[in-house]
């Protein structure tokens, strides 16, 4: 099971003003605000923490299908490029990759390596990004499981959680998709193939 989130650094600069009064308080705990004020580059820390929260939220809602907006309640602790996020009793591990172009975070229930792959676009258009990232993901799944791509489809639940279907049947793999600005990211996690025991059952 995996949740990921990508932030386009240039786009984040344009879209949001993290120095706006009230902004940090609404999203970040006191501890997180300390990380930000102490960081060499506070801007990067803001979006690193944000992407961690988003990735953790995506993982959480796969375990407990639901939909809500409470980023502050996802509490981060970080060191170098790893970190943990807690939400109530839920806890997960998050790896973050900070590049010159984007920040990519990925949440897992166990400590594990990052599996997300990034997609670089030359245009910034929500619909194109979403469509092409999904296409690339389906190509990958089609190759990996030798299923004709024409039979594959991604569908989102009422809570916005994506699943892969072969014709009408849901494929037993977990995916996560994210896109922002000029970049997309997708992750495919396959419990059977990687022999990772699934410790939680989906309610």
């Amino acid at each position: 099971m995996v949740g990921n989130d990508i932030v386009d650094i240039v786009e984040a600069k344009k879209q949001s003003n993290w120095q706006r009064p009230g902004f940090l308080d609404k999203i970040f705990t006191a501890k997180e605000q300390q990380y930000i004020s102490k960081a060499t580059n506070p801007f990067i820390m803001v979006w690193r923490l944000w992407s961690m929260k988003e990735a953790a939220y995506k993982l959480y809602t796969q375990l407990y299908p639901s939909r809500f907006y409470n980023p502050k309640a996802f509490k981060c602790s970080v060191n170098t490029l790893n970190g943990k996020v807690k939400y109530k009793d839920f806890e997960c591990y998050v790896n973050t990759k900070i590049t010159l172009l984007y920040i990519l975070s990925e949440a897992h229930l166990d400590k594990t390596d990052m599996i997300s792959e990034a997609v670089i676009f030359n245009k910034n258009d929500y619909k194109t990004l979403s469509k092409i990232t999904k296409e690339i993901l389906l190509n990958k799944i089609s190759d990996r499981y030798t299923i004709p791509k024409s039979q594959l489809r991604i569908s989102k639940s009422e809570f916005g959680i994506p699943s892969v279907y072969v014709n009408l049947e849901e494929l037993n793999i977990d995916i996560s998709i994210s896109h922002h600005g000029n970049y997309g990211a997708y992750a495919v996690s396959d419990p059977a193939r990687f022999q990772k025991p699934c410790r939680y059952t989906i309610a």
């Binding site: 949001s16 009230g22 902004f23 809500f68 907006y69 409470n70």
Partner: protein, 83 residues
């Protein structure tokens, strides 16, 4: 304030953050900020801050938690204004 007036105000507030023009044009009570308007989730905070400024109210985390569509935003604003 009537519901119609409230929607007009909310529409003006979300306008800078939307990424789907078509859904924005037909904005109504059932419009979802993220699913329909494709508002970036970080910008939801800006919308919340803008609503606080516009109506001179304070939204707590619990209020934010369900503020994912126009309907819930209207309900929260109305309850705060009447409080």
């Amino acid at each position: 304030m009537t519901n119609e007036e409230l929607i007009v105000k909310l529409k003006a507030i979300v306008a800078p953050y939307i990424q789907d023009e078509a859904a924005f044009k037909t904005l109504n009570e059932d419009t979802d900020f993220v699913k329909d308007l494709k508002v970036n989730s970080a910008n939801l905070v800006d919308i919340i801050l803008d609503i606080e400024d516009e109506f001179d109210i304070r939204l707590e985390n619990e209020d934010m938690e369900q503020m994912l569509d126009v309907k819930s935003a209207m309900a929260i604003v109305t309850s705060k204004l009447n409080a």
